[in-house]
């Protein structure tokens, strides 16, 4: 099979699109972990919840209503989750946290099944993003370009907030040494809460954005969880740079693996994960030097 330059560009865009989707998911998870030392395995369920909220809202008020309100609704669910469960689990050690949030995955799975049923739902791509754009001799779906642009925009916004604002400095201080940050008068607990809600909202956004591309099924959260965990382990826990690097590595390895070595495609990323853990156990860009 002869592949021209256009083919490889198309695949690069595919890789970028997958990376950005994973970035939206992993950034929330990784910062929550970095700041709170809390492993929220139910993060994938919040992504599924976002997709379901978006599907319901889109049925009422069109795509954009789902797009803007689903993240807010998921952040709301995050508030409930935080005050009901996670606050109490803060000091109970990683094993208990993992077990509780793992159980939460199945509880939320049944909640979505109870409210939305077993049949897959769908959201139509909005008219403005439907169709394809032609540039540099290739044709690419506009909606996928939208995901890429959105991912980059969120990345830029978070980079500015974390690097240039006071709250960003407080978050970085909290990630670096939460006890010291608390001594300096930062309300770490409130900071945790805000970061947790924003992380949940971003997971909801990822769900809303992914819904028109994929199908909205109860188990979509479980399917995305492993890739997200791989991203944050490769990238390094707790850092924005790590999340974007991990996402890009995952997206490109997965996409080009599928093209160049389809037989090994599903193993490649795990092999890479093992390699990273051996060579740089803390990941590529860990938050703490």
């Amino acid at each position: 099979m002869a592949h021209d330059l256009g083919f490889w560009m198309l695949q690069a865009l595919n890789a970028l699109q997958l990376s950005m989707l994973l970035f939206l998911l992993s950034i929330g998870l990784t910062v929550i972990f970095g700041l709170m030392h809390f492993v929220n395995l139910a993060h994938g369920s919040l992504y599924a919840l976002g997709a379901y909220f978006a599907a319901s809202l889109a049925a009422i008020g069109g795509y954009w209503m789902g797009f803007f309100l689903a993240p807010v609704a998921v952040a709301g669910a995050g508030v409930l989750l935080y005050s009901g469960l996670i606050k109490r689990m803060r000091n109970s050690g990683p094993m208990a946290q993992v077990l509780v949030t793992f159980g939460l995955i199945f509880a939320l799975l049944d909640v979505t099944r109870f409210f939305w049923g077993d049949l897959a739902l769908a959201i139509e791509i909005p008219a403005i993003l439907d169709g394809r754009l032609t540039f540099l001799g290739i044709e690419y779906p506009a909606y996928r370009l939208f995901i890429i642009a959105l991912g980059l925009a969120i990345f830029a916004a978070l980079a500015v907030v974390l690097d240039r604002t006071q709250i960003g400095a407080m978050i970085r201080a909290g990630v670096d040494n939460d006890a010291m940050a608390a001594c300096l008068g930062i309300n770490v607990e409130r900071l945790f809460f805000i970061v947790f809600c924003v992380g949940c909202g971003l997971a909801g956004l990822a769900g809303a954005v992914a819904a028109p591309l994929l199908s909205v099924t109860p188990d979509m959260g479980l399917q995305i969880l492993i890739p997200t965990l791989i991203v944050i382990v490769i990238g390094g826990l707790g850092s924005l740079k790590g999340a974007i690097a991990g996402s890009l590595v995952y997206g490109f390895v997965q996409t080009f693996g599928a093209v160049l070595a389809p037989q090994a495609a599903s193993v490649l990323i795990y092999a890479l994960l093992a390699a990273v853990l051996v060579i740089k156990p803390a990941g590529l860009f860990p938050a703490k030097g």
Binding site: H3, L121, I125, S215, D219
Partner: protein
């Protein structure tokens, strides 16, 4: 005095219970009501119930239903099957959606000699090398629904095809059935890819490959959530115009097609049932199913419906216990919504026509336009060796 009354009561009930139990056939329904295939389990159960309502009175006996949830987990399903066989002492079992669940319960069912009517699981081995005189399949086999499509597509002038399917047994068997007949007819496979099962979110990389392969058409098997993602992504890349999409009919099943939306328009696939089949039995089935659920029946619903009908047909012959029901089920044949159905006694697999259909837009959503009826053919024995029907 009190003791005497109690004794009399006890005697009376001990006499009455076996008499009542002999009248009804006890049926164990083994279906997933939770897990990834819950929607299928519910559809099959609804179809089963509709058939009992419509034809139950003809059986000359009643049916007691015990339902168990397999959760689509082989070990769980095996435990539930054992419970149905040993504790509930069912006369017959029906259900099983997943082929891996069927594989797990096969030896137990065979060893206990309890007839099992398979209402979905399509792996070729179940009526091939691991066939059993106690296991009768009223659904389909993976090869069966795809094999006729190879010749048909070649007849339409398609010469080079690129195939895609998830990388697991059903995916390989479905595509295998198609490739075998398409190449036998003189067609060429331009390329083949099996995507990681339930791990593929983005089909983009594979679609670009298919486009670059120089094929005339793409033939795929996907089901459930993957089918929805695939059809939508295929359309979003604008491939449908130059590279028409064909496949196994599960791709655009009525259960999922509304979630696929306009992306599914024009996709041509082959399946053993669509709700738009034009025959009296189907009209009655569709009406009854819609009255019960408010939805159009899917191919899964018809599996449940025909499984119950096979059981009723078997009971009509006077079969009542495990052994006689198993024998009777192997000889069942009737006209159903899918057309003329019969069981091939050599493999215990269903023999049925396969329909080529196009998904088209109509008032109130998408519907299935039947393009061709491909004649029923019994599967090859595939290494199945069984005692012939005895009575």
């Amino acid at each position: 005095m009190k003791r005497a009354i109690l004794a009399a009561l006890g005697l009376a009930t001990s006499l009455a219970v076996p008499a009542a139990a002999e009248e009804n056939i006890k049926v164990g329904l083994l279906l997933p009501f939770s897990g990834v295939y819950a929607a299928l389990g519910n559809d099959i159960e609804a179809g089963f119930a509709v058939a009992l309502e419509q034809f139950g009175s003809e059986a000359g006996t009643g049916f007691d239903i015990v339902r168990e949830d397999t959760e689509v987990k082989p070990p769980v399903a095996l435990g539930k099957a054992k419970k149905l066989i040993l504790q509930d002492k069912v006369d017959v079992m029906a259900g099983i959606v997943s082929s891996s669940v069927l594989g797990a319960v096969r030896d137990t069912v065979h060893g206990a000699g309890v007839p099992l009517i398979v209402a979905n699981a399509g792996n070729d081995e179940a009526t091939g090398t691991s066939c059993s005189p106690y296991i009768t399949r009223m659904s389909f086999s993976n090869g069966q629904v795809n094999r006729p499509m190879g010749q048909w597509m070649h007849d339409q002038g398609i010469r080079k095809v690129y195939t895609l399917a998830p990388d697991y047994a059903a995916g390989r068997q479905m595509i295998g059935g198609f490739v075998e007949s398409f190449t036998a007819a003189g067609g060429e496979i331009a390329g083949q890819e099996f995507t990681p099962f339930q791990k593929t979110q983005d089909f983009g990389p594979y679609l670009a490959q298919a486009k670059a392969s120089g094929a005339d058409a793409v033939y795929v098997f996907y089901a459930g959530g993957e089918a929805i993602s695939f059809v939508k992504q295929y359309d979003s890349f604008g491939l449908k115009a130059d590279l028409p999409l064909y496949g196994s009919g599960f791709l655009t099943s009525p259960l999922y097609v509304n979630a696929e939306g306009p992306a599914a328009e024009g996709v041509i696939t082959a399946l053993h049932y669509v709700p738009t089949l034009d025959n009296a039995a189907n009209a009655a089935f569709v009406a009854a199913f819609q009255a019960k659920t408010g939805r159009l029946p899917s191919e899964f619903a018809v599996h449940g419906y025909d499984a119950a009908r096979a059981l009723i047909e078997a009971a009509k012959t006077g079969a009542h216990d495990r052994a006689s029901l198993a024998e009777a089920l192997r000889q069942v044949s009737f006209d159903g919504p899918r057309g003329k159905l019969s069981i091939d006694p050599a493999t215990n697999n269903i023999v049925q026509p396969v329909y080529v259909y196009e998904t088209v837009a109509a008032e109130g959503g998408l519907t299935q336009k039947v393009l061709a009826e491909l004649p029923a053919e019994a599967d090859p024995a595939n290494g199945c060796e069984m005692a012939p029907v005895s009575n």
